[in-house]
Subunit: 155 residues, 2 copies
Amino acid sequence: MEQDGTAIDLETSLGYLLKEAASALRAAMEDVLRPLGMTITHYSCLELLAQRPGLSGSELARGAFVTRQSMNTLLQHLEREGQVSRPAEAAVGKVLPTRLTPRGRGSLAKASAAVRSVEDRMLAGMTETERSDAFRSLTSMVRSLRQDGVAVDGD
Amino acid sequence: MEQDGTAIDLETSLGYLLKEAASALRAAMEDVLRPLGMTITHYSCLELLAQRPGLSGSELARGAFVTRQSMNTLLQHLEREGQVSRPAEAAVGKVLPTRLTPRGRGSLAKASAAVRSVEDRMLAGMTETERSDAFRSLTSMVRSLRQDGVAVDGD
DNA sequence: TGCTCCATGTCAGAAGTCTGACATACTGTC
DNA sequence: GACAGTATGTCAGACTTCTGACATGGAGCA
């Protein structure tokens, strides 16, 4: 039971460091979104819809890195609150294209500014080289990890 | 409501890319840990204890990037299952130093091997330059984001 | 000593997300 | 046309984590 070879050194593990960075970003985003009564998934959903109106629930789920069931719960909530709108029935297939309402756009404007301040702070603490290195290496990490079926929506 | 300046371009956002990479890693780890009946936080807790025996609940929480309340729930569960042990009362202060039991070490051995396979796959898909670039830029991101109070345990 | 401040452990309840399951609709393959 | 395979939306239930709150113990300071 004492094989040293199987242990993972957390101090030098790239996976641990990635988790640490993601955790720091998540905490910082939650800090600025909480005063607005918004969660990260909530914000992500609105931001995705602003950039690509008409996205389906499943597409939004993939873009926000949650299951389509979780996104469905959120969408029903947002629809009741009047932040998004969906047709009662699908025009074609089962896909229900979702769109932002003016109210949703208003919520997003505040949230987007708050999130931008976090991202700006993050970028301000990095050199130009570090930024492009981060972009390149993170892209490579994603590609490596996606080799087999490791989709978020795993059913 | 239509200020283009406030929107965040998800395609080029380093924050979004970081979340994407972390999500891919999380999904890959869950895929290999689920057959072992273990969650990521569960595994993280055991791995931390293996490297630094006697860690307190709060310290484990910080190391696993969850609140101390969540870690407490997990520790009570692990204690009932006989994977970790804690003294009934604190020797000094309120701190309850936690240690792995032989059973816990056994669980960790399997989990650690599984997680290592994921990390190896990730690293195998990256060049040596990308690995060191990732380490450097992620460290910089963490430092930038930690500037103000963005601790995991936020109370 | 007495006081304030901070860290820890814990309980209770709420919120978010997940897995499992089902019905339905499109796609391509024979 | 018939079929299997895949994708979507949804419901139900369970699990994990979170926020809020409280009590306790140590550290620093007047």
